[in-house]
């Protein structure tokens, strides 16, 4: 069999139709529960909603914890540190919104984004913050982790309201991305609040919030996937 015959066989297609009775059953089930629905808003609107939630977390965080972190940074540090957070927040919001609509073009690959984002942050902390003091490392850090995790949890709840509007083709990916995005909101709020410019402190106790958010999101995603595979319609 040559290439042309192979191509013809593939493009001929099969001829077995679905059963008429089953089709009628499907038609009856669907038409009996028809109600008008509004299509989802455009992607820029959904991305704007996600970023508004991100900004709200930062605002609530500073209202509760103050802005000592922001004042402790010099201008260059502030621009680079929060510029990176903002860039990652935009990329995560785009990737998250892509998950809401089946068959949409994946502009950003979630795995690459999470891996690249983690590498960027790990490389950023020692470059921006030159203090490596580990005195009272746990006692000073645990409060930051608590604060960041609470902020991330609130961010996660807000993001959940957004992602539940869509239809998730990959709940695991979507939930992990959402957790990561929420964790990023928590870290940004921490950056504004915490004045400790210490690389190990920031790497472990601040960025740990992202790891916790991502892990929690992935766990929720796994449960969602498991439930979807158990469900019989």
């Amino acid at each position: 069999m040559n290439d042309e015959e192979l191509r013809r066989l593939l493009t001929q297609g099969p001829e077995i139709p679905p059963g008429e009775q089953r089709l009628a059953e499907i038609r009856d089930r669907l038409t009996s529960r028809l109600t008008p629905v509004h299509a989802l808003p455009s992607n820029p609107v959904l991305i704007a909603f996600a970023l508004a939630g991100f900004a709200l977390i930062c605002l609530l965080g500073t209202m509760y914890g103050g802005q000592k972190g922001w004042h402790a940074l010099n201008l260059a540090q502030g621009i680079i540190y929060f510029g990176v957070f903002l860039l990652l927040a935009v990329l995560f919001a785009i990737a998250m919104v892509d998950q809401l609509i089946p068959g949409t073009r994946r502009r950003i690959r979630p795995g690459w984004l999470m891996g690249g984002g983690a590498l960027l942050l790990v490389a950023l902390a020692p470059v921006l913050f030159e203090r490596f003091d580990v005195n009272r490392f746990v006692a000073r850090g645990i409060h930051c982790l608590e604060f960041g995790t609470v902020c991330a949890a609130v961010g996660g709840v807000l993001s959940f309201f957004l992602i539940r509007r869509g239809f998730l083709i990959s709940p695991l990916q979507a939930a992990a991305l959402t957790g990561c995005f929420a964790g990023l909101a928590g870290v940004t709020a921490l950056g504004l609040v915490c004045p400790q410019l210490n690389a190990p402190h920031i790497l472990v106790w601040h960025f740990g919030t992202i790891a916790i958010g991502t892990a929690a999101g992935a766990l929720i995603g796994l449960v969602m996937e498991w439930r979807a595979s158990q469900k019989e319609n």
């Binding site: 066989l9 593939l10 629905v37 609509i101 089946p102 068959g103 990959s170």
Partner: protein, 167 residues
């Protein structure tokens, strides 16, 4: 599709009639069991119904539809795997599959595709049988156009080799 979103029952019936054969063939090629493929088709339409608000008229329909079909198939596979892991066979069952004459061509095609790994089989089916473009297959499978091209190329290479051995 837009009329389906506005609860037009006639448009819904037309959509079901037009899309079902293609989706059914897609399922049949993957599971090779008519009854299971019909169950999947029903499950697929219930999901489409839940997801209908996520379709936008400005976007192509087929990648949206096949992305949902793919998800339906994945969930069915996991469900079957879970059930199989809790079952044990009490006796040998006889082979009862009788092949109807009109199924010959489909069987030739599914026999051909059976030699491929699942991901390549799915890509070839979407590209060659369902007639989706590379971009549409990439959207439906959540991968890049490059990855789809690579899978299709590998599948074609393998099919050529299989036929070289058989002829």
């Amino acid at each position: 599709m837009s009329r389906y979103q506005q609860a037009d029952s006639e448009a819904t019936a037309t959509l079901i009639a037009r899309l079902s054969p293609q989706i059914f063939q897609f399922f049949l090629a993957q599971v090779r069991d008519r009854s299971l493929a019909e169950d999947l088709l029903q499950d697929f339409w219930l999901r489409v119904h839940k997801a209908r608000h996520t379709y936008r008229a400005s976007e192509p329909l087929l990648p949206w539809v096949f992305a949902i079909a793919r998800r339906t198939k994945v969930d069915q596979y996991r469900r079957t795997r879970n059930i199989k892991s809790h079952e044990f066979q009490v006796e040998e069952l006889p082979e009862t599959v009788a092949r109807a004459p009109e199924q010959k061509r489909t069987l030739a095609l599914t026999e051909l595709l059976r030699t491929l790994p699942a991901a390549q089989r799915e890509t070839i089916w979407l590209l060659k049988v369902s007639g989706l473009s590379l971009e549409e297959v990439a959207r439906a499978t959540g991968s890049s156009v490059g990855a789809v091209k690579q899978r299709a190329h590998r599948a074609y290479e393998k099919l050529r080799k299989v036929f070289g051995e058989r002829t």
